[in-house]
């Protein structure tokens, strides 16, 4: 989230799309009801289903799954063509004024630089025009025909309300109401928050979905202000933390990059990333990348990391290609993987195309499941009739189940969607023989290291070099680990005058204290400050809110630097004054930046210096145009899902799906066509369950006991399906059976002249647990990955449906 | 042979001094006393749940839970038991011409002026009224009882139906207890009656006085 959960109460318009906050984030949703009740905020929901959030909405607009970019681009066009944008914000705080170099073009759905055989773009034409001094060229009048603003107007003009209706199936009046409510916030007086989740992410064009939303918020001036933001609602209590700490496939902790094969030396790695400002007087915070990276390496390799050995850079693995989950299983499917360690991971249920997942797991020599519950994956070899129809005798994979403690049985921290790190204390003893994850991994590490010490072998050096100096190497404590993430001074740190500002051994108070000479460590710069010299701030529980704006500055610690709203410099105009009294947040008081939050800015830089508010960007401003930072285009464009009910893309007939989305070689043939599979399906979770965990919890099973399929009354009639009847749903990859929930909440849409039916498939069920047995929902879903994030397209694919004869429950 | 329309199996006159008349067979008497016991238990257990001031009666059955549980089962026993009585007695309880006259002279009945009453068969009109009232009320009670026997049958009726049933059950129960009071009182008041149900016999004089037509039939039957 750019903002925080508690900040949502400051919104005047709440827009939920690509998510279902009431369903998946009921506790956070309280701030939506709060904004409605106390501020009179309007809530609008755009979704293929009239869902639980829609039940709370003032306005609901239906949409065909997978057509979000058309819809959002329609809003962009509405704002631009009606000039309903926050002009001053756009001019000064976005790259609207930047001039794009000649040579860029967009034609028939393709940007310049496309290589069809490689399915990639050469992105060199997607850059700014630079002046001789190396800075980007701008036209503050926004009139230059190649400035981003003018390119945008041209790029989005095709997305008329009529086109939105034709492509997305959203009735024009319902679309226009959304656009009008969005526009009502483009003025600095009112704010809109966008709440989304995996309904935007899990598409072959997922990253661009979110980007289009960000563009809308920038055009309205809704980034950096209270009640605004593009707010990703994270799906687990600590998935923000797990992303921060570096489980992204190409990242190390703190969103620093994992070295690539093309970066043989530390300097070659850092050189590519020590971004220089693109405008005068900008700070470009990434200039500090080197300090963060060296501190990280110092944490990893301790005293063994020295300037002479590039701080141990050579011990870091070098990535040839990102190993995301889809690729992991593709490699496994090719028989190239010996063993898999699943730590809190149930891939048989959660990876697209479970038929392939089972086949891949069957080729492993061993599988380790570290989990508090027995997962379906750990039992993948077991025949559960139609729900998991495997030939056990043919599977040779050895499975180890290592029971681990649950969150309540260990100390540690959660980082929530608001980026707020909150400590939690162990509340119960471990159950039976369960051990903490940290203990199991430490045990494993210690044993493997001993074997290497004794026998040597490939990959020996990094393992022997790792610094493992915990008080008890077998039981590193959560406290020690958070301290390590934070970082400390390794020698006395002195300022320019030679005064000691941080004594050796002291914890660092902020990442500003990190150094690139090996005198500090700290494996995750964004968390620095959470465990500073004053102790563990994640343990703070003071729920006072002096400003009344939902800041709660002394509750836990929000990264970075305990900042609750990111880019909050943008809450004031270029002169440093609040855009309006209603949205007063951070402002220049003549001496420094002040307000209820921690400024996302150098606190003493005066407005006159015109340093941009988006200090993490080289431009100093936000990007409506992303240059070459995204694989599939500097602007978004509507592409159909890989499985689409339409024969062609109604907007760009020559390009049907995202031209750079990733599909593995052998997977191309497993996509189905609308001829055999005319119905659009989308998957989602239910509020009664948490993923595939709570199907093992009795009370959750009681309140939602059995897999079901949501269908419209019209489709039920067409197919002869009675409410509560068992139905079979199948795609080109597999089938599931569930009870029919026939509902007015699903409606057929008219898309490009034809009626398109959609069905909803909740994902929380499986063949292990207390709920009634069900096949993995992902036996249906296609293994195509988003062009940027490689997230599978779970939210839009094709199926067919028929009633299963038999008595109706 | 004349049809002895209100003579039941086992009815027999034994001349002598005094004359004795067999009125009820052993089977009929056992049947009656089972029914009587059930009815008393039902009244006690039912009244316990009918009015708070009588809730203490649940103590006779252990506690409230037992009382609630056992009451309907006793009702079932009573129903079948009474069905036995009904099969035995229904024919003799068919309404006859003289019963109307008898009823019309209820005042004479109550004042003991039996000479003013018509001769009646095995049962007089009052007994017949008791018999038919019991029959109708027991059917009413068993039907309404099933509707409110929630332990086993709650799903077969709606709550509004149950409400009507529970009211009907209460009213029928009050009625049957009143009928029962009449029945018992009559047995006490008309001396010599109780022996009919204890030993199965009455004296000839009793039969002559109260059921002369029946006696004549019995005697006449012998004649034939």
């Amino acid at each position: 989230m750019t903002n925080s959960w508690t900040d949502i109460k400051n919104a005047d318009v709440v827009w939920i799309m690509g998510g279902n906050a009431a369903e998946a984030h009921p506790c956070g949703f309280k701030w939506v009801t709060e904004a409605k009740a106390e501020r009179g905020a309007k809530l609008m929901v755009v979704d293929p289903r009239f869902n639980r959030s829609a039940a709370m909405a003032d306005h609901y607009a239906p949409i065909r799954a997978g057509s979000d970019i058309a819809f959002l681009s329609g809003v962009v066009n509405y704002l631009l063509s009606n000039d309903k944008i926050h002009k001053e914000y756009v001019r000064n705080y976005t790259n609207a004024a930047f001039v794009v170099q000649e040579g860029y073009g967009f034609d028939e759905g393709l940007f310049t630089g496309y290589n069809e055989s490689k399915r990639t773009y050469d992105r060199s034409t997607w850059d700014y025009e630079f002046s001789a001094d190396g800075f980007a060229v701008r036209d503050m009048t926004l009139e230059h025909p190649r400035c981003v603003y003018q390119l945008m107007k041209k790029h989005f003009e095709r997305y008329t309300p009529e086109l939105v209706e034709r492509v997305s199936g959203t009735p024009k009046d319902k679309f226009l109401k959304v656009a009008e409510w969005v526009a009502s916030t483009a003025n600095g007086e009112r704010a809109m928050t966008i709440m989304y989740a995996l309904g935007w992410t899990q598409h072959s064009h997922g990253a661009q979905n979110i980007r289009t939303a960000a563009m809308i918020q920038l055009l309205c001036g809704n980034i950096g202000i209270p009640g605004g933001g593009v707010n990703a609602l994270r799906g687990h209590s600590n998935v923000q933390g797990i992303t921060d700490v570096g489980t992204l496939t190409a990242a190390i902790p703190g969103y620093l990059a994992l070295p690539a094969e093309s970066e043989p030396t530390l300097e070659s790695h850092l050189g590519k990333r020590t971004f220089k400002p693109l405008l005068p007087n900008q700070t470009s915070y990434w200039q500090n990348y080197r300090k963060f990276y060296v501190s990280f390496l110092k944490s990893y390799f301790g005293a063994k990391a020295t300037p002479e050995n590039e701080f141990g850079y050579q011990w870091m693995p070098k990535l040839d290609t990102p190993y995301d989950a889809l690729r992991m299983f593709d490699v496994m499917h090719q028989g190239k993987t010996t063993g898999l360690l699943c730590q809190g991971f149930n891939p048989l249920m959660s990876i697209a195309y479970s038929g392939k997942t089972v086949a891949a797991l069957s080729k492993l020599k061993f599988l380790v499941s570290m989990d508090p519950i027995e997962t379906d994956t750990a039992r993948f070899w077991e025949n559960h009739g139609e729900y998991n129809n495997v030939d056990t005798a043919k599977i040779q994979t050895e499975v180890f189940m290592l029971p681990v403690t649950t969150f309540a049985e260990e100390d540690g921290s959660f980082t929530n969607s608001s980026r707020c790190i909150q400590w939690k204390w162990q509340a119960a003893d471990a159950y039976f023989e369960a051990r903490k994850d940290i203990e199991i991994l430490s045990d494993l590490f210690t044993r493997i290291r001993k074997l290497y010490e004794k026998d040597g072998g490939k990959g020996k050096d990094p393992l022997l070099a790792v610094d493992w100096s915990y008080k008890d190497p077998m039981h590193p404590s959560a406290d020690e680990l958070l301290k390590e993430l934070n970082g400390k001074a390794l020698v006395d740190l002195k300022d320019a005058d030679g005064k000691v500002v941080r004594a050796a051994g002291q914890q660092l108070a902020s990442f500003g204290e990190m150094r690139d000479d090996g005198s500090t460590d700290g494996s995750m710069w964004i968390y620095t400050g959470v465990y500073g010299p004053t102790g563990n701030l994640a343990q703070r529980r003071e729920n006072t809110d002096p400003s009344g704006l939902g800041v709660f500055p002394t509750w836990g610690f929000a990264w970075p630097a305990n900042r609750r709203i990111q880019y909050n410099r943008a809450s004031a105009d270029p002169q440093g004054k609040p855009w309006s009294d209603k949205k007063k947040y951070m402002y220049w008081d003549g001496q420094r930046w002040t307000g209820p939050d921690v400024p996302d800015y150098v606190p003493t830089i005066p407005p006159e210096r015109a340093t941009g508010p988006f200090i993490m960007n080289q431009e100093g401003v936000s990007r409506l145009w992303v240059r070459g930072l995204m694989a599939d285009g500097p602007f978004p464009a509507h592409y159909e899902s890989f499985e689409s009910p339409l024969a062609a893309n109604p907007i760009f007939p020559k390009i049907r799906g995202n031209p750079v989305a990733r599909v593995f070689n052998n997977d191309m043939e497993i996509f189905g066509s609308a001829k055999d599979f005319p119905i659009v399906a989308t998957t989602y979770r239910l509020v009664e369950h948490f993923h595939y965990w709570t199907k093992s919890v009795h009370a959750n099973a009681v309140i939602q006991p059995e897999f079901f399929v949501e269908i419209s009354e019209e489709l039920a009639k067409e197919k002869g399906i009675k409410p509560g009847q068992l139905v079979r749903v199948w795609s080109n990859r597999g089938q599931v059976k569930g009870k029919a929930v026939v509902t007015k909440r699903m409606i057929p849409l008219k898309v490009d002249g034809k009626i398109v039916h959609q069905v909803g498939l909740p994902l929380n069920f499986g063949f292990i647990g207390e709920t009634k047995k069900a096949s993995p929902i992902n036996s249906l879903t296609p293994p195509v990955g988003d062009a940027n994030s490689q997230t599978p397209e779970f939210k839009s694919f094709l199926v067919n449906i028929e009633p299963v004869p038999g008595p109706v429950a | 042979m004349t049809t002895a329309y209100d003579v039941e199996r086992g009815d027999q006159v034994h001349p002598g001094n005094p004359v004795t008349v067999d009125r009820y067979t052993t089977g009929a008497r056992i049947n009656h006393w089972i029914t009587a016991t059930c009815l008393i238990l039902l009244a006690l257990s039912g009244l316990a749940l009918f009015h708070p001031s009588l809730f203490f009666l649940t103590g006779l059955f252990g506690d409230g839970q037992n009382t609630r549980a056992i009451h309907p089962w006793i009702g079932v026993v009573l129903f079948f038991s009474f069905a036995g009585l009904f099969i035995r007695f229904w024919k003799a309880n068919l309404w006859r011409r003289e019963d109307g006259t008898w009823m019309a002279r209820l005042h004479d009945v109550l004042t003991g002026n039996e000479e003013k009453l018509p001769e009646v068969g095995k049962y007089n009109a009052g007994q017949k009224v008791v018999f038919w009232s019991m029959s109708i009320l027991i059917i009413t009670l068993i039907v309404s009882g099933f509707v409110i026997w929630d332990q086993y049958f709650s799903e077969y009726s709606t709550i509004p139906q149950k409400r009507v049933a529970v009211l009907v059950h209460a009213l029928a129960a009050v009625a049957i207890i009143c009928v029962w009071i009449v029945h018992v009182y009559a047995a006490i008041w008309v001396r010599g009656t109780i022996g009919a149900m204890t030993r199965g016999k009455v004296t000839g004089g009793w039969a002559w006085r109260h059921h002369r037509k029946w006696l004549r039939e019995l005697v006449g039957g012998k004649k034939a």
Binding site: P26, K30, V687 | S154, I159
Partner: protein
């Protein structure tokens, strides 16, 4: 935001009310507490309810109830009805608003309404099995329950359920044990959106007014409070978007009151019945005194002998 109820201390707290605060006790004559505690109420704002069922789970957990895992029958309602273990249940209704043309998904939390004039208590024959505290909470005392099911018939909202296991009646207690120590009911505590709030009845009515104003501003011109006068008001109240049509909320009673059949049964029948039985006994007794026994005379016996003469 409605001011949340503060967490309790970890030290034991003396209950704020108990047997001395009863105003009604089933099948018993009691002197109602001289001074009423402030009436409490739970306010369920249907317009804020997302139907997450956290209240259902909280109720199961706080009250140590174990419900069976059922099946899906084509709706979101699970379990499908209240049971002896499910004291509260979300009921989902899809309502096509004829005026706005909009679909509305109305989600109502069903459970005991804690009537000011409780039909269950009126119907109950077991002394002390149902009690009403002066703050309005109607509670079942299971030690005294005999499982007759009369409360089911007395209730205008179809709430109590009789357990097949122990043959006792069960329903929401409004977490009387929590309220007694200054907490709100478990469902209220678990509700993420403040669709359930708890406080004094006066506070709840005031808060409801605030909510109704908001709903009216959003076009729900018949928004209102459900506090049915037919049962003298309830201690669980709803804020409804369409207070003129309670029945669209999964058949919420339009104008509930204790059924007249129950009133007759538990009113006049109870007294008239006893009187009738007493009268019959009395009449018999008097008759016996006045008329004396009806004896068989020696003459009768003679006549019988005469009739049977020679028949031996």
């Amino acid at each position: 935001m409605f001011q949340p109820i503060a967490n309790p201390t970890t030290k034991p707290v003396a209950p704020k009310f108990g047997d001395k605060d009863l105003i009604r006790r089933s099948a018993s004559n009691i002197t109602p507490a001289a001074q009423r505690q402030p009436e409490v109420a739970k306010l369920i704002d249907v317009s804020k309810c997302i139907g997450c069922k956290a209240c259902q789970v909280a109720c199961l957990e706080w009250n140590n109830l174990v419900e069976e895992v059922g099946i899906n029958v084509g709706v979101y309602d699970n379990p499908h009805d209240l049971t002896p273990n499910t004291w509260t249940l979300m009921r989902y209704s899809e309502y096509q608003n004829p005026e706005s043309g909009n679909l509305e998904w109305l989600i109502r939390k069903d459970g005991c309404m804690h009537c000011e004039d409780p039909g269950c208590l009126k119907a109950c024959p077991a002394p002390g099995a149902i009690v009403q505290y002066s703050n309005g909470i109607v509670d079942f005392v299971h030690d005294n329950c005999i499982g007759c099911g009369y409360c089911v018939k007395g209730c205008p909202f179809n709430i109590p359920r009789i357990s097949k296991v122990d043959n006792k009646a069960y329903k929401c207690s409004l977490c009387v044990d929590r309220v007694a120590v200054g907490q709100g009911p478990a469902c209220q505590k678990a509700c993420p959106t403040q669709a359930i709030v708890f406080g004094t009845k006066d506070e709840m009515k005031k808060w409801a007014d605030f909510r109704i104003k908001d709903l009216k501003s959003r076009g729900f011109k018949n928004a209102g409070l459900y506090d049915p006068p037919g049962v003298s008001g309830t201690h669980v109240m709803y804020v409804l978007q369409h207070a003129d049509k309670p029945q669209i909320y999964a058949n919420l009673a339009n104008n509930p009151s204790i059924s007249p059949v129950v009133e007759i049964w538990k009113g006049v029948t109870k007294y008239a019945g006893l009187a009738a039985m007493g009268a019959f006994v009395a009449i018999g007794f008097l008759h016996h005194i006045i008329a004396g026994p009806n004896r068989v005379s020696a003459e009768d016996e003679k006549n019988a002998e005469k009739l049977t003469e020679g028949k031996a």
